[in-house]
């Protein structure tokens, strides 16, 4: 149940019957966006996300210079010159946190996009071609799903040269399968719809049917999968790095926490070293989860909040 195992949990919230949502969303793309902006949860999530992305982008301006530069300043509580204090190595915690956002968000979104893309490809090929292709791809998916994630992570992280790319690759390899299963189920249900058969009868090519007919109908599921994978990516990266399996020379929220642990931040009472990065991860993950939550609500209107049941009385 470690963070690294969270891919099993990822699948949990997405249990609404797969064919229930998508085709009900008319104008999948434009409509979804507009609906999202009207949703309070989504708006909150989006604002937080945009804020973090902005901070990450502006890190070189707000906190110029190498954030990991070690100096003899020593550990220090928050003060005017260092609003979030300094670490045992004299690094400015604010700078570390800001710069950490870059790597964490980069890894999170790269993992999210890559894993989702892989999952979409596998899921769609599986669903569209069916038969042997489906059997083989399902088997592969299920094997990746069954293979315990942590050892795979650990082994791959140990095997490959350290670096952001490795972390991304490792997380993609271990994270795509769960999504592929969800997407396959979804694609399969859309594959069975008459409009796909109609496109076949019209004479459309397979690739076009997959990407122009089936995929747009899965927009919301792809989106939730994507966000789920981003959450997984950010969390799992932090977990890996905390265990020392990441690249400790990169500044990210995970490595910040790794160094905080190694420098005994909690033991020496330097909570300001430990808290910000963890809080940032939580905030970003929470924001993503809220957007996801909102998408679920939008595509499945039944999930929307409403008054209690016994309001049926006549008024």
């Amino acid at each position: 149940m470690s963070v690294l195992d969270s891919r099993t949990e990822l699948a949990a919230p997405r249990t609404a019957p797969p064919d229930a949502d998508a085709p009900k969303v008319p104008r999948a793309r434009a409509g979804l966006l507009r609906a999202l902006l009207a949703n309070r949860k989504a708006l909150f999530g989006a604002v937080v996300l945009v804020l973090f992305v902005l901070l990450a982008l502006l890190a070189p301006l707000i906190a110029p210079g190498d954030p990991s530069k070690i100096n003899s300043l020593g550990v220090g509580a928050p003060s005017a010159s260092h609003p979030l204090g300094t670490t045992a190595k004299g690094q400015d915690v604010l700078a570390l946190t800001l710069w950490g956002a870059r790597s964490s968000l980069l890894v999170g979104f790269s993992v999210g996009i890559a894993a989702t893309a892989l999952a979409v490809l596998v899921g769609m090929a599986s669903a569209y071609f069916g038969r042997l292709v489906d059997d083989v791809l399902s088997l592969v998916t299920n094997i990746f799903l069954l293979v315990p994630g942590v050892p795979l992570l650990v082994i791959l992280a140990a095997f490959m040269p350290p670096g952001t790319m490795t972390v991304i690759l490792v997380l993609v390899v271990t994270g795509w399968a769960g999504s592929a299963r969800v997407l396959r189920a979804q694609a399969k249900s859309i594959r069975g719809k008459d409009f796909v058969a109609a496109s076949v009868v019209t004479g459309e090519r397979a690739v076009r049917i997959m990407f122009r007919e089936i995929l747009p109908n899965m927009a919301s599921v792809v989106m939730t999968t994507l966000l789920g994978c981003v959450i997984f990516g950010i969390g799992a990266q932090a977990g890996l790095e905390f265990l020392g399996l990441g690249d400790a020379s990169v500044v990210s929220w995970g490595t910040n926490l790794y160094w905080a642990g190694n420098d005994g931040a909690l033991m020496t009472g330097a909570w300001w070293v430990f808290v910000p990065s963890g809080l940032c991860i939580a905030l970003v993950a929470f924001a993503l989860a809220m957007v996801n939550y909102a998408i679920d609500e939008i595509t499945n209107p039944r999930l929307r909040a409403r008054r209690p049941r016994n309001a049926t009385r006549k008024g």
Partner: protein
């Protein structure tokens, strides 16, 4: 039953694939266990001993395929060899000494999270718009958003160190030896609280939301309206009609999670110094202890497969529809 048999075929295939993967992976890693051990000992070992150790551990230099055949044979006969990092303890013994705690911690946490999470989900869906439905989901999602180790360390320092409410480490206090006495059991239970609670805290949101969403979908089904029309009592409708059907996806996820319990809760074990397979595996990987790694990997894979198989069986019991598939 054909459904089961077909799944069995799949499981065997998956098992083969993952033990093969398991065979390949460690062999792709650079270095060997002895130089690894040497590197760790930081000059406490004589360089001359290295070759001797290699011989002692019986490291293989035979062709890969031969090793592979032997490995498959060993797997099939249940031989897991001798651990290198715990030399000369047999791998099976190493695993046996850990798995109990792993199952205890993981199982407890999982069961609590699943039971409470699902119950909350059921109630939230049933009382749409109530406190449970509007307050809990975002709160639990927020809790689940924190990095697990961060939360665990925070809890450890707050409840273990500062407040001293719970023991901070190990599965039981020194001075006890595992038996069935009340003193031991209560001690072990008190040690379980923090690790299990933190796991529950981060995972319960997923269960609750999942259950809530399926439950909402289920409540809108015609047969629920029908049950209402029949004049059945609300609790009967909620549990026997709605929850029972909404549970099905949960059962699948539960099976998955159950299998992964065997893999241990690595971060928990690291933070709380709790014994378990997870850390053992990490240590095995870092020490390049192939036999132990393979043994653990095998155990996990087998457990996941068995758990999934059991879930399939349960599914067949719970959902008559799959029987005809």
């Amino acid at each position: 039953m054909r459904y089961i048999l077909r799944n069995l075929g799949f499981y065997l295939l998956a098992f083969w694939a993952s033990i093969t993967l398991n065979f390949m992976l460690p062999r792709f890693m650079p270095g060997d266990p002895v130089s690894r051990m040497f590197a760790r000992s930081q000059s406490q070992m004589q360089p001359e001993q290295i070759d001797q150790l290699r011989r002692l551990f019986g490291l293989d230099h035979r062709p890969m395929w031969q090793q592979y055949l032997d490995y498959v044979k060993d797997v099939c006969t249940g031989h897991m060899g001798i651990s290198i990092s715990r030399f000369p303890t047999p791998v099976s013994e190493v695993i046996a000494s850990q798995i109990g705690w792993t199952l205890l911690l993981g199982g407890t946490a999982l069961v609590i999270a699943v039971v409470i999470g699902n119950l909350l989900g059921i109630l939230a869906a049933w009382r749409r718009g109530g406190v449970l439905d509007s307050v809990f989901p975002p709160l639990l999602v927020l809790a689940g958003s924190f990095p697990y180790f961060w939360l665990a360390m925070g809890a450890l320092y707050l409840f273990g160190m500062t407040l001293g409410w719970f023991p901070m480490r190990h599965a039981f206090d020194v001075g006890f030896s595992p038996d069935l006495s009340w003193a031991f059991l209560s001690n072990a239970a008190s040690h379980l609280v923090l690790p299990a609670l933190t796991i529950v805290l981060v995972s319960i949101g997923g269960w609750m939301l999942g259950m809530r969403n399926t439950m909402i979908a289920t409540v809108a089904e015609d047969y629920i309206t029908m049950a209402e029309a029949k004049g059945l009592s609300p609790s009967r409708i909620m549990f026997r009609y709605a929850a029972r059907n909404a549970m099905l996806p949960s059962v699948t996820n539960f099976g998955m999670a159950l299998g992964f319990v065997v893999g241990g809760a690595l971060l928990t074990e690291v933070v709380f110094a709790y014994p378990g397979v997870g850390f053992q595996l990490l240590a095995a990987v870092q020490g390049l202890d192939y036999p132990l790694m393979q043994g653990i990997f095998l155990t996990i894979t087998a457990a996941v497969l068995v758990a999934n198989f059991l879930v399939d069986l349960v599914h067949v019991r719970l959902d008559p529809r799959v029987r005809v598939r």
